[in-house]
Symmetry: C2
């Protein structure tokens, strides 16, 4: 039997880098602990984590450190989807064996225009090779970046063949009609997460499970409040409050802006660093971001202290 | 001092897989030896090699086997570009230390809409970290698949900063205007390869260095003849002959069709296998391919014997 499926708010945790660009384990663990304390779970190695700018070895190392530092596997949904079956299997096996409650799986994203049959074969091959009773996969639909959409037909086929394993989906299409089409499949106990809290209320009203959102790195508590209170009369108000913060970040390149917000709060410039091909935001952008967040009464002082 | 730069015809060698989908080293070495005997060099780990469906470990293993089997590093331009700086550096360091004459380098291809500055930082970081006097990089421009174009400005900046290292480019845009724009940079001793022999004569007339083409896996000798005789009066005729074969393969999904052609010739079905997300061509397609190649007098019997 697999563990209870995820619901609620998950943060695709941003990955801090040292001066030599190696992952900064201490700062990473601090951020993870803070996010958990703010009632969100950890979708480490997501798009916002610059996971595809990390080597497989670096991900293995970070995952082992996370678990051995006392972070519970119940909080963890690491991204394990690589371009090759071999690497996806290696990472997924490790995640399951370390006790992670689930994994978030990108489709292979180099070859374009691939067929549903090819993608079905890929996911099947991974599932058969990992072959573990605790394997729980959340599919990762993010066509603006992966350029590999997961069709409703494919999702339906995978859940039909592997109902115990294929537990849910994260929809980062940014298109509510797409999320709705996953809901319309009416798959039992299938957990649908939206990729932004902007759709959280809508997603919960449609029977969704929560959201896995970039800004849960910096605003997890408020997003979690909306998740808990979605059926409450003032949910619309809460939705508009979290939107206000989300909209600020969306005016900047998201990943460097998240890191900059953490750097600003913690007075720790180390957090600003990104790996190429990304570039950090400029001094002007940083100042503007700080001012916008302040004007929105975004309480950065409640963020964790990395020192 | 780096070695003499590449010119001529290179094959992005297709990678055979065993039943358990592991790379089939023996068949791979046989194909590499045959291609070299047919006067082409080896751009192993290219797009047509399903390189991005291989793990870094599998690539390391195959590269070591190639060199230890007696294939000369002078023939080798392995693809070493991954999404992460760490893995690109690891593979590139290995290739240089094993004596490969050059490497073909994809840009990082997960994050989309990245800037020239970000890509420049990425390639610079790789070059500085590999830090080897024999490092010779051929940039890999293949926007239809990578979705990350390399602008002329970026190419110019990289060559200006690293004139000894950035040795050339493979243009797989499929757009002659694009190839021309690289020629117009007039970079000294910069080797421009087209990604298909369809543009070979044009590329040579413009001062290009050759081609790195999928169909050099099955038709290397004829493509090499065109390369050698491009200034000869009957070059147009030779171009139309190689086009005829190229056009047949282009009517099928390229990678499985190349493998199927090898399987058909060598009466060795093992060659048909591909890794998901690709799918093998159907029996009907295989029959049609065989008939088309026969009608075009394509002499498959001259292909190597894998038995």
């Amino acid at each position: 039997m697999t563990k209870e499926r995820f619901s609620g708010v998950l943060a695709p945790v941003v990955t801090p880098f040292k001066k030599d660009l190696s992952p900064d384990t201490e700062r990473f663990l601090n951020l993870c602990r803070w996010i958990v304390s703010q009632k969100a779970n950890l979708a480490v190695f997501g798009t916002n984590s610059e996971a595809n700018s990390l080597s497989v070895k670096e991900k293995i190392n970070l995952l082992e450190k996370l678990l051995s530092s006392g972070i519970s596997g119940d909080s963890l949904m690491p991204g394990t989807g690589c371009c090759s079956i071999s690497e996806t299997v290696e990472l997924t096996k490790l995640a399951v064996s370390l006790g992670c409650r689930g994994v978030l799986m990108l489709p292979p994203f180099y070859y374009k225009g691939v067929t549903d049959e090819g993608l079905f074969n890929y996911f099947s091959e991974v599932i058969e090779r990992v072959n573990h009773e605790h394997l729980s996969i959340y599919l990762y639909h993010i066509p603006p970046i992966s350029q590999i959409p997961l069709s409703s037909t494919l999702v339906n086929q995978l859940v039909s063949k592997y109902p115990e394993v294929v537990a849910g989906i994260k929809d980062s299409s940014g298109d509510w009609n797409q999320t709705e089409s996953f809901h319309k499949l009416n798959l039992p106990n299938f957990r649908i997460f939206c990729g932004s809290e902007s759709f959280l209320l809508k997603n919960m009203q449609a029977g969704g499970a929560g959201c896995i959102s970039a800004t849960a790195n910096v605003n997890p508590l408020a997003i979690n409040e909306l998740f808990k209170n979605w059926a409450h009369p003032d949910a619309e108000l809460q939705q508009s409050r979290v939107n206000k913060i989300r909209n600020i970040f969306q005016r900047y390149p998201m990943i460097p802006a998240l890191k900059e917000a953490i750097a600003l709060h913690s007075r720790d410039k180390e957090w600003s660093r990104v790996r190429a091909p990304l570039i950090p935001i400029s001094k002007n952008q940083s100042d503007a971001l700080r001012d916008e967040l302040k004007a929105a009464s975004f309480v950065m002082d409640e963020l964790f202290d990395t020192q």
